[in-house]
């Protein structure tokens, strides 16, 4: 089977004024479709940079990166925008829900960005919120919910358009362990769902047992081969 994500010798450096900080120093990695792939490693080693590059929000400097059969480095900015709209779901550490919208409207956004009509987007969003257990709060604003509930809204938003790739940066670090487990239960690929590959950056050892693969990152490199853990 073709890997969902294939990365070869990927380099990325940040430039601040005259200072150049190399962050990704030749990462190579394959991730199979349907994996729940964990990336761990010490702070500052480049995990966030790596997932930003592989979901198409950040451009790499050199190397090869193919995601869901798209060569990201050969795409224009608007093609990347389109790619993210169609294929990627996001779960951020800071939930980034728009405070002035209801949670249903927040969850509907990815569908609206795919030009679905407001009413059908809203219906699908409500459906999704039901599945994450927030069916009773469809018209609530994010600020009125607990952290765990907000992260469930964020997960609903990440999954509502059934993306083939979901990237999560520290999705549980702001949550207690019980809530963290609930969040992972929602994130892990379900047999009933459309197939998805989920990448989770985490420091949180409490959730390691959810992983199908854990890759350890250190100083801009992934230590291959990743340790395979049976799920």
């Amino acid at each position: 089977m073709n890997p969902a994500i294939s990365i070869r010798d990927l380099h990325k450096a940040y430039r601040t004024g005259n200072v150049i900080t190399p962050v990704l120093k030749g990462v190579s990695l394959d991730i199979a479709p349907g994996e729940l792939f964990f990336i761990t490693g010490p702070s500052g080693c480049g995990k966030t940079t790596l997932v930003s590059v592989l979901c198409g929000t950040l451009l790499a400097d050199s190397g090869e990166i193919e995601v869901l059969n798209h060569h990201l480095r050969r795409m224009t900015e608007s093609q990347l925008t389109q790619f993210r709209a169609n294929h990627v779901g996001f779960v951020f550490q800071q939930f980034n829900l728009i405070p002035s919208l209801t949670i249903t409207e927040n969850v509907a956004i990815p569908l609206r960005l795919q030009h679905r009509s407001p009413s059908s987007a809203r219906a699908a969003a409500a459906d999704m919120l039901n599945r994450v257990g927030l069916g009773a709060k469809l018209n609530a604003r994010p600020a009125t919910l607990s952290g765990g509930q907000q992260q469930r809204v964020a997960i609903a938003r990440a999954l509502v358009h059934q993306p083939a790739l979901v990237v999560c940066d520290e999705p549980t670090s702001a949550l207690d362990s019980e809530t963290g487990r609930e969040v992972m239960d929602l994130l892990k690929p379900q047999p009933s769902d459309s197939p998805r590959t989920v990448i989770v950056v985490t420091h949180d050892p409490r959730i390691h047992h959810y992983a199908s693969t854990i890759a350890a990152m250190e100083d801009g490199l992934i230590h291959q081969p990743p340790s395979a853990i049976p799920s």
Partner: protein
Amino acid sequence: MTDVSLQMLYGDRAKFALLISGVCFSSILMAQGMAMFFGILAFSFATLDNVRAPIWVVDPMVEQIGDNQPLKDTDVDRVRSVAEVAWAAPFHVGQSQARALGSGITKPVTLVGLDATSMAGAPTRLVAGSITNLRRANAVAIDEEVAARLSPDRLHPLTVGDVFEMNDHRAEIVAIVRTRQGMGGASYVFTTFDRARDYGSGQRKMTTHILAAPRHGLSSASVARHITTATGLSAFTEDQFKSKSSDWMIANSPIPFVVGLIVGIGFLVGVIVAGQTFYTFILENSRFLGALKAMGAGNGRLARMTLLQAAVVGTTGYGIGMGILSLFFRALPDGRAPLVLRWEVAAFVFAAVFLIVCFASFIGIRRVARIEPAIVFRS
């Protein structure tokens, strides 16, 4: 995504209110500045408002309505002899002092002398009495403001039948009229042309203007041209005289500069307050705009959302501002405040607000375009 864009805007109540009030305040400043300009023009053209005639004939040296160059007594006949002219009448406007009999109160007035036969140029808004009675001996028609000013108690103004003096001549009120007061604050007193000589400063040549009308079926403009060619005097239609006078005011008075300053400050207030607030609004929403970008909203779509927000702010602020201003103007006593809200003012302010909106959204869109979608992963 228009709903999302608008809810983001309304969601930040404080900033939305600040944006609206910035545009609103700026609209009010600009509109009232220009309304003041037209108001002052209206005051300077008070004679053209109070005396209606299709054609005004004046000395060729006259540049504007306030300029009273005396004409020769024979000029009226020369105008009458132009074939296209239906009628022509001598007309006098000048200054005088009105003195109340008992109290001795003295007020400056604008004195108008009308041709007694035709009564051409007689005031049209009658409050009390009768204009035709002007033909009686010592008869005058006075503006209600003059009636109030000459009385020791404003609440009990002079009325029809009361008597006062001008230039030591007895003047008996036969009519109270409503007119617009002139720039210097003097209100209008009407009498007949011949009696104006006694009431006024007693100059030899009394005709300051000749009022005329075109024969049936002819346009005032074409007949005015005929008069000019035939007599060598300047003849204008009402509108021509008004615009000639306002051109003169714009070129020669300090008013356009002062008004320009007010309008300019209003515009700057709009640009700065709206531009800066909008920029902060975008800045504070960077996280969410970044999240939208990450989720697949392109720069074009976000730019349209920003433009919509700016347009809503602009039209709401403009609407509220003009609404407040017109309510305020409506509450003012009719014709006494130098403020005229014309549709041109509303249109100009709308255009200025449009520019402000363009500027604010330009700033906003530039800022939005610089947001990196990857920032959403940063805490």
